[in-house]
Symmetry: C2
Subunit: 248 residues, 2 copies
Amino acid sequence: MPSSFGQSGIDMLIRKLGSIANLSDEERQAIERLPVRINHLDARQDIVRDGDMPSHCCLILDGWACRYKLLSQGKRQILSFHIAGDIPDLQSLHVHTMDYSLATMKRATVAFIPRENLKELSARFPNLAALLWRDTLVDAATFRAWMTGMGRRTAYERIAHLFCEMYLKLQAAGLAGDYRCPMPLTQTDLADALGLTSVHVNRVLQEMRGHALITLRRHTLVIEAWHDLLQASEFDPTYLHLEKRAAA
Amino acid sequence: MPSSFGQSGIDMLIRKLGSIANLSDEERQAIERLPVRINHLDARQDIVRDGDMPSHCCLILDGWACRYKLLSQGKRQILSFHIAGDIPDLQSLHVHTMDYSLATMKRATVAFIPRENLKELSARFPNLAALLWRDTLVDAATFRAWMTGMGRRTAYERIAHLFCEMYLKLQAAGLAGDYRCPMPLTQTDLADALGLTSVHVNRVLQEMRGHALITLRRHTLVIEAWHDLLQASEFDPTYLHLEKRAAA
DNA sequence: GAATTAAGCTGCCGTAGATCAGTTTTTAGC
DNA sequence: GCTAAAAACTGATCTACGGCAGCTTAATTC
């Protein structure tokens, strides 16, 4: 079970960037030498809040986090999920006011990196800056995929699509394989991410189990019929841009 | 009527970047000297298609464009609208396969800029690279706002929210003012952007007219009650990040 | 300025998913 | 291993919005 990767430090970020383009030793070292303050957080803790102007960026080392937005009457929209190697508030490098909140989904380890040091890093290593920029672009592509789902897909298709996406992201991070991955989200979390209610998510999940598409128990998702799941959601992985870049 | 701005060239881009940080003469000149191929396009023409690997980026000089995604059975999701000064496929600087299509909404003038020249520009002027990166981050913030709407807002709120957003974007570009702006979108376009049907958009628009919130006729939107429109949509302009940056 | 087409509008009925109000099962803490 | 709380699940009912089909008005074209 691939769950003991780079919990010790910043290597999940290096792994992620390195999966796109080859890093020089100098670049690798510069990342490793970033000053970080490491924090262990419980589940469901806010990391940064809507409206804040944080001076640090948050790198997830272990666990899951999400971006979300609160509306009136307690309505919540989850905007994205994040795993080890992600910097969900990297945008604060260039826009200073948060337009969403960031919170853990389960127990998580996060590293806070001063914004100024990240800025310096990207100034000194344009190649790294490009990789980080690229990362925010893939982020945006994922938003587009979710938007397409919420606007034009049924609940069944949306849930299937999210499972495909999360599985591939976890697999790319070395945190999943063999059509099996951690899934620490509650049905309420899924609902808030997909624009549904937890009641409806519950019914659709049962329908998916009825079709022998998935098993979902005790925070583990097993995809029993990958191909059918792809088909059910019209999933096209292009937007994840997981391919290795040819040349630097 | 503010409609005769910089149609001649690339100045809408300079205006936009210059509204965020002051540009040096050198930077301004470098932008002006970008090799461009200018094209006049009819309404509803594809500029780039889902799956393409374009060698040029597209700068809108005049008119409107949109990003969209097609699904099975002719379902269409519009992902964003673009006006003069936008480069809706700037992302192809760093990820090479398009995961959506780009099309004009009405007659438009666009400039095609070779990707390589834009890459060069951003390598030579890190300050410009940062501004372009920032632009893609605001883009992502807009996706988040739309997602929040599609997931958790009613049709009425969503339409009101879009009107607020487009008015402010057009105003910032000098293309609107006095609570009046061009709105070349059909009700079907609005529906495809907001995850609704044109029939429902029609009914909601009438409701909004009934509440004396807006006038929408002959491709012109007049916001009759700005404050009520803001309130109806719980609109918070933070995500547009229109403020000028303090220091470079 | 007649013809054609696209966009806007209406009414009726259907349904995916919401809402409410629980009960049962699982998980986590001591 | 017991307890408390959270999550999962169920059934009944409701509604915002969709689907369809036809009609009207406005915009283009020649």
